[in-house]
């Protein structure tokens, strides 16, 4: 346990080092932050104000010491703490990710179930062909096509942006307004595509495996109705791997939201990252990457810890290596 924790801290430290020195080596943010009319004297002053006149190792030392007290630095362009900026954007991204997961689940499981129960039907073959497309099509291009068809040609849904928000537990959310949903539908569908294909395949494979098991045959023999067999026995058994994948994929969905957010101008964390890269807002880039690393490390750690608590026979080191 302790070893695992130390490893995670080590990973964080190494990542902070890599990202910090990587990001701080490129360009000069002052060149774009400063007013074009500023003269040499003023530029020098701005460099000093942002602490960029100090040697890199000192800048890193400052960053590291304040990071230990939870301060990942302030955005160059706004002077607002980088973490605060990211947390402000987080609800929008979580909302998008959750909506896309919901779409993938609500469509993916029934489609996969159908394809698993009637594997030779034309519809099932169509579903499977569709799932190959879901894996192959680049997210960004599908996003463009969705915009073209549903916004430009049909004019049904707004192409970009986030809809009206209302405050919920101190957080701005848009999924409670009609306008919010109309804006959410296209990007969420776009982001859902990959996981939709994944869930269809998983559900189909699981269904086919379960259907030949003895207990299904017993259930049939007992004269249970088809809907009860599928609804209770099949579903219950295939849900387990599906829930796992959904959990593990959630992190990837948040990462992939970077692409969807920038196509649909969704004001989430991913767009913040792209904007910060374009503006060389170094503290925000570093804070973002570290936060994501922390998130992945934590998800893995917590899952592994719970896993080993549930099954004491498995040592933690193995659990990590087995992935």
């Amino acid at each position: 346990m302790l070893r695992r924790l130390m490893q995670s801290t080590g990973v964080l430290f190494v990542m902070s080092l890599l990202v910090f020195f990587g990001v701080y080596a490129i360009g000069n943010p002052v060149d774009i932050l400063v007013n074009p009319n500023a003269d040499q004297q003023d530029i020098a002053r701005a460099i000093a104000e942002l602490g960029l006149d100090q040697p890199l190792y000192l800048q890193y030392w400052h960053f590291l010491t304040s990071a230990l007290s939870g301060d990942l630095g302030r955005s160059f362009s706004t002077g607002i703490p980088a973490l605060e900026l990211i947390f402000q954007r987080m609800p929008a991204t979580l909302e998008l990710a959750a909506a896309s997961m919901a779409i993938a689940i609500v469509l993916g499981i029934p489609l996969g179930l159908y394809a698993g129960l009637r594997p030779d039907s034309k519809i099932a073959k169509g579903i499977m062909a569709g799932s190959i497309l879901g894996f192959s099509l680049p997210t960004f291009w599908v996003g463009l096509m969705l915009i073209m068809v549903f916004s430009v040609w049909l004019g049904w849904l707004p192409p970009t942006g986030r809809g009206d928000t209302v405050e919920l537990l101190g957080v701005q959310v848009s999924f409670l307004t009609l306008d919010g949903w109309s804006h959410l539908l296209l990007p969420a569908t776009n982001l859902a595509l990959f996981n939709l294909a994944l869930l269809i395949r998983l559900t189909r494979a699981g269904t086919r495996e379960v259907m030949v098991q003895d207990y299904i045959r017993f259930a049939r023999a007992k004269g249970l109705s088809d809907s009860r067999i599928i609804g209770v026995h099949v579903l219950k058994n295939i849900m387990i791997p599906i829930v796992t994948i959904v959990g593990l994929e959630f992190g990837s969905v948040i990462a992939f939201a970077v692409v969807t957010e920038s196509i649909f101008a969704w004001p989430g964390m991913g767009k913040l990252l792209i904007d910060s890269i374009n503006q060389l807002d170094r503290p925000v880039i570093v804070a973002y990457v570290l936060l994501i690393v922390l998130m992945f490390v934590l998800i893995n750690l917590v899952v592994d810890v719970l896993y080993s608590l549930l099954d004491p026979r498995i040592r933690l080191a193995d659990a990590g290596g087995a992935r």
Binding site: T244, G247, N278, V302
Partner: protein
Amino acid sequence: MPSMRRVTATALLLLVATSALVALPQAPARAQELSIGLSAAITSMDPHFHNLSPNNNVMEHLYETLVAKDGSYRLRPGLAESWRTVDDLTWEFRLRKGVRFHDGSDFTAADVVASLRRAPNVPKSPSSFGIYTRQIADVQVVDPFTIRVRTKTPYPLLPNDLSTIYVISAKHEKASTEDFNAGRAINGTGPWRFVRWQLDDRIELARNDAYWGPKPAWERATLRIIAKDPTRVAALLAGDVRAIENVPTADIARLALNKELTLSRGISNRFIYLHMDSARDRSPFVADASGKPLEKNPLKDVRVRRAMSMAVNRQAIADKVMEGAAVPTGQLLPPGLFGHVPGIRPPAYDPDGARRLLAEAGYPDGFTITLHAPNDRYVNDEQVAQAVAGMLSKVGIRTRVEAMPSAVFFSRANNLEFSFLLAGWAAATGEASSSLRSLLATFDKEKGLGVSNRGRYSNAKVDQLTEKGLSTLNDPAREKLFQAATEAAIADVGLIPLYHQVGVWGMRRGLGYTARTDEATWAHEFSLEK
């Protein structure tokens, strides 16, 4: 397949995560208001934190300056009713009486002094207002409504400089940027009161009914930040906002046909130009026709520079790449601005003449060069650069284009890593000295000249005329000096002006907005047509 326990563990995690989302719907109340889609995010609500046009555009709603500017940069009375020079170094400003801050307190000379003290000294400021207060030696309060400002040298641009310093109330001189961002310290004299700011999303304003000047036609206004061009257009079409700024060029034709909408267009102060390395003997990205680096830098020859200018079809760029949102130019400022030279026409497109000039200069086979350009800074910057490269290639100057994010571009350009670059400039003061001293004056760190002279162009005549103008207090005499400096620089092709951008605002029918040369979008200048 993952095992059962791992699955259960994940499921537990998910459960905890989702239980945080419990719903309590609440519809937002909507008053009759003006909402405008702005194209650039603002970085702070502190009026002295970041000297950047999008920020200043928003600050103009809440705060005022001693000297105001109209849409064409002509100075007019603001918080100061009048001003005059007492001697070469001293300016006297008479302040407006009866002006109240949003909190009800009176505006007096003390507020001006406090603002001038705070503006250059905001901690962590990435771009401070210090450039506009640097000339001030001291500020004297004669009486509560009269101040005298002494400059270090005779300095005609003092009123222009003071037109950028927002006046806050003296009690907030010590307020931090956080206080402003939280709204606690926002207390101006402007036509709007502050209601709410959400970073990268919106600024909500309410009409200041105690405003001394003409009051806005709207009770409330929301400035929404919609940076992506297609999104901003979609928001206008869908009625989410009633007006937008910077209509993207790709959509101008389509929106102009829409009966529900009105477009307002006007020439902008921003001009796009090409800068050439005209100083070094060997330039990094210049080679002969076969790709061998040239011993001599052809860009030092004025004939070559003139040939390049003649080879560019400015009208085609304005029509095709900019879809009409550009006006070809041959100088630094649009008509009507202080220092514009009526006699300079945009150079005619003359590819044959360009080829002849190149041959005359000793380059009958042309040469190869790389044009560097930003790809996210100016309207269609990358596309314009490619079009220019195509036109130059046709007269024998084989031009490659390398476009990059402005974050990289400006750093490299300032390090003089390029031979030939495309950039844009908007004279912040709205008169010629801004462009002359930054783009064309010889680079001089001590004097603060030539900061953006990325071709290191140097012409003693231009320098002398510019510097003389900068210390001439008499307006007509100063304008003549700047015009002469511009003529000298343009005749010598110190840079190649391409076009002035045209600002395009789109709004619902029934609204009106007079296009501003300074590209500003102010809610209080939108009119309601009956």
